[in-house]
Amino acid sequence: MSDLAVEVKNLTKVFALGLKKEYVVAVDNLSFEVKAGEVYGLIGPNGSGKSTTMKVVLGLMAPSKGEARVFGLDSGDIRARNEIGFLPENPYFYKHLSGAETLRFYGKLCGMRGRELENRVTELLKLVDLEGAANRRLGGYSKGMLQRIGLAQSLVQNPRLVILDEPTAGVDPIGSRQIRDLILRLRDEGYTVFLCSHLLEQVQEVCDRVGILFQGRMRREGRLEELIAIEEQTALTLEGASPELLARVHELVAAEPGAKIVSEGHPRTSLEHLFIQIAERSREAKK
């Protein structure tokens, strides 16, 4: 069994434009690996080749050159699809089906039947907090609910690799936080998560390793802390420090040749944290 969940080697994808013999190189000699059990984020602006790479890994597209493998299997091999759970950007499901029917439909496509399938549907609806909307048709679901049923659908056959395309696009901060928590939980339970996003803050929160794609090429890749650390700077956050202590810190720094204080001030919470705090307090007060 391969300990690499995804292995992309020298992948190139070229699209022909109409009949004019014009070509667009969407992905250019791309190579990267996603290890089993890690959360890997592929980030880049729109049109950088993220979705094309994802589609090749999913077997929806064939590479023009190079190869993509999933747990050692060629991505075109149908067995590879049994190992993958996929949540597309803006999930596209049959609007005439209810949440439970959707999970049953995808479960059956994965060969699940009977009690095993029914138990799985119940568990997943509970996991994504949609038990109350299980029998409502997807046409009446909100964007966040669709994303959650999409996530449940991606886990239906208990895959080893979960591929998420912009998992929090269009979802409100609370829904976004819930999806982030679930991704972390998936990692803790040994799932491999491969996600594409251009929401950098969220990628930073959940990913172990990151690849930065631009114009179809990998520009930087590595462990997140290594990529974003500023080696020559150190951050120090103090609590309950008196003005005298701060003055002594200033003196000590001034006495050290080559050292200087770059910035100083009160750390701020993010707007997202503030929003979630307010929402949670309101919910508590309502109870």
Binding site: M61, R79, A80, I84, Y92, Y106, R120, V128, R148, R160
Partner: protein, 311 residues
């Protein structure tokens, strides 16, 4: 999202699980999904229009003998049934594939272990089930109408002939027999079967077109066009191929059209059955085989286009 719940696992994860070469279960899942989709799209509403046509035809008082009137009612009802069946097969099939592609539902389906032939076959079977159910319902509506008119005509005829006192019981029996021959007979089920076979070929042809068509509208228009050509090309080809003053290119073109487009005129044997002619069961069996052949060819052609299609 439920914070306390751990991610449930249905079975231990390990090496790649085998995927059968062909799974009837997956075909059945896609087919039943297609049936649900078509039913919830309220496609059966067209049956109301059909019922209205049949009721209207059944209540015309034509200046003809009862047998002729019954024959006319049958002809119009079964013609309408046939029209609704093939038109429904085209529209329903044309809506499915391009719609899945436009809505990108296809992404989530094909990213599961589903072979493309299973997807195509599932869609086709789903449409055929709905066409079959529709035909049974339409036949039911026709049967009620024809049966009611038949018994009305028979009792009126017996009463008229008996009260005149000029006819012997044998003559009355003969006259009633003539009416019954144009009434509700079990053989009419074969005519319904022929409509189903024709609609199946139409659906197969439409599914092939929709594998490379860019929209549902294009698929519907081209399918109707090909259906009409398929009805006329036997006549047209016999004219062109036997005409002495046409070029080699025209002759080749006619032959190519003859090969590529199904001959829908073959299914017109059902018109004779509706008119009370005897059923040639060997011909019915032959038509079943021809239909199966067309379906296999169209599915293979569809697969040829669809198997490497990128989404």
């Amino acid at each position: 999202m439920n914070a306390e719940t751990t991610v449930p696992k249905s079975s231990p994860r390990g090496a790649a699980r085998p995927v059968p070469l062909f799974s009837p279960g997956r075909v059945a899942t896609i087919a039943s999904g297609t049936v649900t989709q078509l039913v919830r799209m309220k496609t059966f509403y067209f049956l109301l229009a059909f019922a209205l046509v049949v009721v209207a035809v059944g209540n015309f008082n034509l200046p003809a003998t009862p047998a002729k009137e019954l024959s006319m009612i049958k002809k119009v009802s079964f013609g309408t049934m046939d029209l609704f069946a093939w038109l429904f097969a085209i529209v329903a099939t044309a809506l499915l594939l391009p719609r899945d592609q436009e809505d990108r539902t296809l992404y989530t389906i094909l990213s599961k272990p589903v072979r493309r032939i299973e997807y195509l076959l599932g869609k086709l079977c789903g449409v055929l089930v709905v066409v079959g159910i529709s035909l049974v319902i339409m036949y039911g509506i026709c049967a009620v109408m024809i049966g009611a008119r038949e018994s009305l005509f028979v009792s009126a005829e017996i009463e008229a002939m008996t009260s005149s006192g000029r006819y012997s019981p044998e003559e009355i029996e003969e006259q009633v027999g003539l009416i019954r021959q144009q009434g509700l007979r079990p053989e009419l089920g074969i005519a319904v079967g022929a409509s189903f076979l024709k609609a199946a070929v139409v659906a197969g042809m439409t599914i092939f077109l929709s594998t490379f068509a860019s929209s549902s509208l294009f698929t519907i228009i081209v399918s109707i066009l090909l259906f009409l050509i398929g009805h006329a090309h036997t006549m047209a080809s016999s004219f062109w191929l036997h005409s002495s003053d046409n070029s080699m290119i025209v002759q080749m073109l006619v032959k190519v059209v003859k090969i590529l487009i199904p001959d829908f005129q073959l299914y017109s044997f059902s018109e004779g059955i509706v008119q009370g002619e005897a059923v040639v069961y060997a011909l019915v069996g032959q038509m079943g085989l021809v239909t199966l052949g067309y379906l296999v060819v169209f599915l293979l052609l569809s697969l040829l286009v669809f198997v490497d299609k990128e989404f």
